[in-house]
Symmetry: C2
Subunit: 379 residues, 2 copies
């Protein structure tokens, strides 16, 4: 490649290191020499990719840490939760991407089209940004019905209009039958981060109140309920929704929220563990305060799952300074997507990086990062 500009693009300004999850080491690394290439920190137990690498838990983190971060530089670790926040032309932008490979394409309460919009819109919202523009890349499998593609596109377009975001650019590729699964969708999104808003786990301090916006585990159980003949007596409908409006209502109370996270793959357990690890604080939950619908609890009991590890798609968890917690909770409960918001715990100085739950029986258990995944291809 003759072109070897090593500086940043004009107008692009990397944020100071403390604004990123990790300092960006990408700019100074020499080009790799492939001739004698070996993985610098091999995933010894996994010479091949397994389904668990896509689960959003410890194995996904391992893939990022050992494979992607060394190749790209540190900032890509934002994959572990947030959108990136970047400066461009004087504007502070949130920028995020997600690929969607959910099976089936249509499920109670939504579709891959809804997920493709809401997943990325929510990633931006977790940095305080209202999504403005989406890109949309389709990978279609040869033989999929055109009407199915059109249904997905209609659902995606409708979800975009509902979330107030414009699909600005797109791309379509087709792969041979047997190399896809009907429709895969990638979206990337950009949005403005409002003045004074700085949401990231490093801002969490002991005493912060942990609030969840509503019942957990619903999206994951909804997908399980329609796959492979699993039925739980009642239909459970995915909570898939765009959270931009709820976040705006919370920021209207105070721009000084500390961190927001949408507990998708890996569930509430993964989201809280990532925040605890990145902030260096501990987290204590009151297990009885966590809203778990009876249908989700029953399904998880049957399947031997922990509802805290089940994926959500229309929920968020917030770490809020104690003095603002009551007002933020009240504002959330006035929003249709936060009606069942609840305080579930707090950040503490003890056991930094660890999440524990006080059980109903007076005991304490460690809430761990899930290792692989409970259910592949949930989003």
């Amino acid at each position: 490649m003759p072109e070897t500009t090593s500086g940043a693009a004009p107008g692009a300004t990397t944020l100071p290191p403390d604004a990123a999850l990790l300092p960006d080491g990408g700019g100074t690394r020499p080009a790799p020499d492939f001739s004698g290439w070996t993985c610098p920190a091999p995933l010894r137990d996994h010479p091949r990719v397994v389904m668990g690498h896509g689960g959003g838990g410890a194995m996904s983190a391992e893939l990022v840490e050992h494979v992607f971060a060394p190749a790209f530089g540190g900032r890509v670790l934002s994959e572990l939760g947030d959108a990136a926040v970047v400066l461009l032309g004087g504007a502070r932008l949130a920028f995020s991407t997600d690929s969607f490979v959910v099976r089936p394409l249509f499920f109670p309460g939504g579709s891959i089209g809804d997920l493709a919009v809401n997943g990325t819109v929510n990633d931006l919202a977790m940095r305080g940004a209202r999504a403005a523009y989406l890109s949309c890349g389709f990978v279609l499998e040869e033989g999929v019905e055109t009407a199915t593609v059109a249904r997905v596109a209609e659902a995606l377009g409708a979800a975009a209009r509902a979330a107030g975001v414009e699909v600005a650019t797109g791309d379509t590729k087709v792969v041979e039958a047997g190399h896809g699964d009907g429709v895969y969708v990638n979206t990337a999104g950009i949005g403005l981060v409002p003045e004074g808003v700085d949401l990231r786990p490093q801002r969490v301090v002991p005493g912060d109140v942990v609030i969840v916006s509503g019942a957990i585990g619903v999206h994951g159980v909804a997908i399980m309920s329609v796959r492979d003949g699993l039925e739980f007596g009642v239909e459970i409908v995915s909570d898939c929704a765009a959270l931009g409006g709820l976040v705006e209502a919370m920021l209207a109370v105070t721009p000084d929220l500390h961190v927001l996270r949408d507990p998708t793959r890996g569930g509430l357990a993964a989201a809280l563990n990532e925040i605890a690890a990145a902030s260096g604080t501990g987290v204590v939950l009151q297990e009885r305060s966590i809203p778990v619908p009876p249908a989700v609890a029953n399904a998880c009991a049957v399947l031997g799952l922990d509802p805290m590890q089940v994926a959500n798609e229309g929920k968020l968890v917030a770490f809020v300074p104690r003095e603002h917690a009551d007002a933020v909770l009240a504002a959330m409960r006035e929003h249709p997507l936060g009606r069942d918001a609840a305080v579930i715990g707090e950040a503490v100085e003890a056991h930094p990086g660890m999440v524990v739950a006080r059980t109903g029986l007076g005991g304490t258990r460690v809430v761990d990062l899930p290792v692989g995944e409970q259910l592949p291809r949930i989003c």
Copy 2:
């Protein structure tokens, strides 16, 4: 979905209609009613997706026109060539996405990692923007070697550093064996469009000079040469490269270039037909002026292909006002990626929307948009 904000996000400003390829009709369309859903303009000949829908030719355009545009609104037609240009927080941004499904993952002169960077960087460059940040979404097939994923990631990271763009955010999904092909990659990119630069086919006027930056057909033939035992005696190396620097050199001569296009899928023929159709001018080429390397010409002769329909990945075609053409050509030839730049034709008033080539024998032939694709999964 309870959240139904129909307005644009704060800070987001849709460009005036003449700045987009087509006016955006998305904001005012009512939400579709799925209950009685039928495709409003069915693809009667193709109830199922076939490989040709991914080829970047007439069938791809049909999919966009009949399926994606009605669902998303008009702007997504930018898929047919350019990045979108959007206003956000006062900044004029180019925004683009591409998915990459090339087979094999590594080929002479590059890899899917190089394509994933250069493809998106070049889409932004075609609107005059220097890429600042990329997102990167992987869809991995269960069973792919972790070392292969790492090699792709290293190549992607190296290409990003070479192009001066930062991988800011990412995502990884895993699908079961038999539902992917090792590694698929999506990238989206954002970059600033410089003051005074406005590159789009609608600005083309009769008299504009058509310049190509170098030899055509090289990337496509390089992929063919390593797939399925096709060999042409000499190794042909892909020209895959990031064009941001070349475009900067051209814009330094004058910001008043009319349109740039990278002739990827569908080749030079598709790029010129799209420009002719969107600008409402005709294009006349001097066939003998088009630089086709002998190895490409030979391979195309053997395979019965038209070099003008073969994909490129490190080339661009420019429509330049006649008064600046000599200076722009000279600047291109001084850049390593434009050394073989050549004037190949001009825009004319005659036969609007049509591209014709004057042959070496004094005849004239129509250069048509390819219908499907010559070679699936070339990028």
